[in-house]
Symmetry: C2
Subunit: 342 residues, 2 copies
C-alpha cells in the first residue's frame, strides 16, 4: 500500500500532527524538524490523499467550472481555452477544476452534481447561462465568479472577470481613424448581449474622442446571434443601404469573416476597397486571406486570472472581488490599409 502520513511521521520521528503542520506550511515548526519531515516525504514519495485532506479540512480543493452546452462544444474554442487557462492556474494552487455544462433548457433537476454533493469550494461560471440556473446556484452560498458575462439582475452584487470590450473597440476604431478612414461601419449582432453592447459603445467613443461625426446608418446591429452567418447577413444589409464607407469594425472575428464572404461576393476587395477589423483574435483570423486585423483577447490569461481570484475568495473568505477587466491588444495584420484621401 502507499505511504500515509503515519509512515512519514514514523520515519521522521515526529507525530502525525507535526507532519501535517509541515505539509501545510504552518508556523511554529523548527527548521530542523521541517527538514527531517521533508526528507521523509521525499524518501517515501509521499503524497497526501486528496479525499482525506478534504474531509478533515472541510475544503474539497475543487472548483466548479460551469458553461452552457453549446458554448462548450461549438467550433471556436473560446471557452475551451479559458478553461485550459483555469486548469493550468489551478495546478499552481493545488486545486482541481470540475467542469460541467448546463443545458439551455435548464431544470432544477439538472443542477450540477457537485453542488448538492458539496464537492466544490467555489464556482466559476463562464459565458452566458440560463437565468433560471443562476437562481438555483445562489442557494449554495459558495464563492461565485463570472467570466465574460454578468447576469443583468443584481449586476452590482456579482464578481466577474470581464474583457475590456469598450477599450478594445476604441483601439480598433482608433486604428482605422488614424489610418485615415472616416466612414467606418459597425457590424454587430444581438445588441442585447453585453459584450456587443460594450463594443458598440467603444465604437461610439472613438468618434466622440476624435470629434468625428457618427453616422447611424453605418451601424447594423439587429442580427439574432454573432456567428459568421450573422455577419454575412448584416453586411448584405449594409451594402443594400449604402456603400459610403471605407472600413468596417465587426463585433467579432466570426462576423468579420462573414462580412468578408459577403464583400467578396459583391466584388469588394479587402483591404484595397474596404478595411476590416474584427475582435477576439480567434484562430481563423490568421487562416483567412487576408489575415485579419483584430483585437486580441488572451483567453488563457482570463482563465488564470479567474482562478486566482476565486481561490482568493475561497481562502480569505471574501464575499466579492468586484469586476476585473482584462486588457486587450490591437493586432494589426493585412485586412486594414491606410487611406490618404477619405
Amino acid at each position: 500500500m502507499n505511504p500515509t502520513i503515519k509512515d512519514v511521521a514514523e520515519k521522521a520521528g515526529v507525530s502525525l500532527s507535526t507532519v501535517s503542520l509541515v505539509i501545510n506550511r504552518k508556523k511554529n515548526v523548527s527548521e530542523e524538524t521541517t527538514r527531517k519531515v521533508q526528507q521523509a516525504i521525499v524518501d517515501l514519495n509521499y503524497h497526501p490523499r486528496r479525499l482525506a485532506q478534504g474531509l478533515a479540512s472541510r475544503r474539497t480543493g475543487n472548483i466548479g467550472f460551469i458553461l452552457s452546452d453549446d458554448h462548450f462544444s461549438r467550433a471556436e474554442p473560446f471557452y475551451t481555452k479559458i478553461f485550459l487557462g483555469c486548469e493550468f492556474e489551478a495546478r499552481n494552487h493545488n486545486y482541481y477544476i470540475l467542469l460541467t455544462t448546463v443545458q439551455d433548457k435548464f431544470t432544477s433537476k439538472s443542477i450540477p452534481r457537485f453542488l448538492p454533493e458539496k464537492n466544490v469550494d467555489g464556482i466559476i461560471v463562464a459565458g452566458k447561462v440560463p437565468a433560471a440556473f443562476l437562481d438555483s446556484i445562489r442557494d449554495y452560498q459558495l464563492p461565485l465568479l463570472f467570466i465574460d458575462y454578468l447576469p443583468l439582475k443584481d449586476i452590482g452584487k456579482y464578481s466577474a472577470v470581464l474583457i475590456d470590450n469598450e477599450d478594445g473597440a476604441l483601439q480598433a476604431v482608433n486604428h482605422l481613424i488614424k489610418a485615415g478612414h472616416r466612414h467606418i461601419a459597425f457590424i454587430g449582432g444581438d445588441i442585447k448581449h453585453p459584450s456587443i453592447r460594450s463594443r458598440l459603445e467603444g465604437y461610439k467613443q472613438a468618434f466622440k474622442k476624435s470629434n468625428l461625426p457618427l453616422k447611424d446608418q453605418l451601424i447594423i446591429c439587429d442580427e439574432p446571434y454573432t456567428a459568421a452567418i450573422d455577419g454575412y447577413n448584416a453586411m448584405c444589409k449594409l451594402l443594400h443601404r449604402t456603400d459610403e464607407f471605407s472600413a468596417i469594425f465587426a463585433a467579432n472575428d466570426a462576423m468579420a469573416f462573414g462580412c468578408l464572404t459577403c464583400l467578396r461576393e459583391k466584388k469588394y476587395q479587402v483591404p484595397a476597397h474596404v478595411s476590416l477589423v474584427g475582435f477576439d483574435d480567434v484562430d481563423v483570423a490568421t487562416q483567412m486571406e487576408p489575415h485579419l486585423t483584430t483585437i486580441r483577447v488572451n483567453k488563457e490569461e482570463i482563465g488564470a486570472i479567474a482562478v486566482k481570484h476565486i481561490v482568493d475568495m475561497i481562502v480569505n473568505e471574501k464575499k466579492t472581488v468586484g469586476k476585473i477587466y482584462v486588457p486587450v491588444e490591437l493586432i494589426v495584420r493585412n485586412s486594414t490599409i491606410s487611406r490618404s484621401n477619405k
Copy 2:
C-alpha cells in the same frame, strides 16, 4: 449545517449503517425500512458527501481524462465532444471526470496530479499522447482505457475504444464506386498515424472487393500532419502528377477542405468535375459549399462508451475490456455525384 447520514438515521429511526445500506442498494434491507429511509432522505434533502464516501469506500468516484494540450485547444472540437460524451455518461454512473492535459514535451514532473494524489479510480487517455507519458502512467496500476489511439508498444495489452476507420473508408470508397467512379484518389497525411493507416487500408480493401485495379499514383500520403493545409498541399501534388481521376477520398474533413480550396484555385468544380468524400463529419462539413459527403463519427457516443467500459473495469476489477470498435456511418451530401461514364 447540511444534513448528514446521522440526521437521516435519526429521522428514519434506524442506525447509520442501515442508511448506508439503503443508499448503496445493498441486499438484506426490508422494504419497509428502505421506504422509511428514502422518505427521510427526501425530507431532509440529504446528499452523501463525496469526500466522506470516497475516504471510507476507498473509491474516489473520479475518472481521469487525459489528452494532449494541442488536441484540446485546437479549433476542431473533436476531443472536446468526446469529453462531453464522457461527462454526460459519467453522471449516470455518479462519477466525475477530472480533465487534464499533458504537454507534448512531457517530463515526469508534469504527471497529472490526480495520480500521485490517488484522486481517480481509472484513466481515459484520448488521442495520441507522448510515449514517455505512458511509461510513467502505468506504474499506478489503475484501469486504463484509450480512445481513438493505441500505443504501438505492447499494443495487445491495452484496452481501447476505437473508430472503425477501415470500415468507414470502405463505405466511403464503395459509395464512390457505386456512383460509377473508377479513378479514385486517396489524400492522406502522416501515414504513421494509425487512423490514417487504417483509412488507407479501407480504401485499398474497397478496390479489392470490387475487383478494381489500384493505382499507386493516385495515393498521396506524405504530408506531415492531417490539417487543411496538408490536404491543400497533397492535392496540389496530385494535380501536378496527374488529372486522371474523377473522385477523391480525403482521410479527414479538414484535408478534404484543403483539397477543395486547391481544386477551386485550379478551376476544378466539386462535384461537377470531381467528387469529394471526407471523414469525421466535423461541423465545417456542412458549412462549406458544397456540403461535404463524409463518414460520420459520433463523438459523444464514443465518450459514453468509453465511460461505460472504464466504469465496468473499475467496479468489476477487470484488467481489460479489449478493443471496442465504434461503427461509423456514411453521410451523403452534395460533394459527390454519380458518373455514368467513367
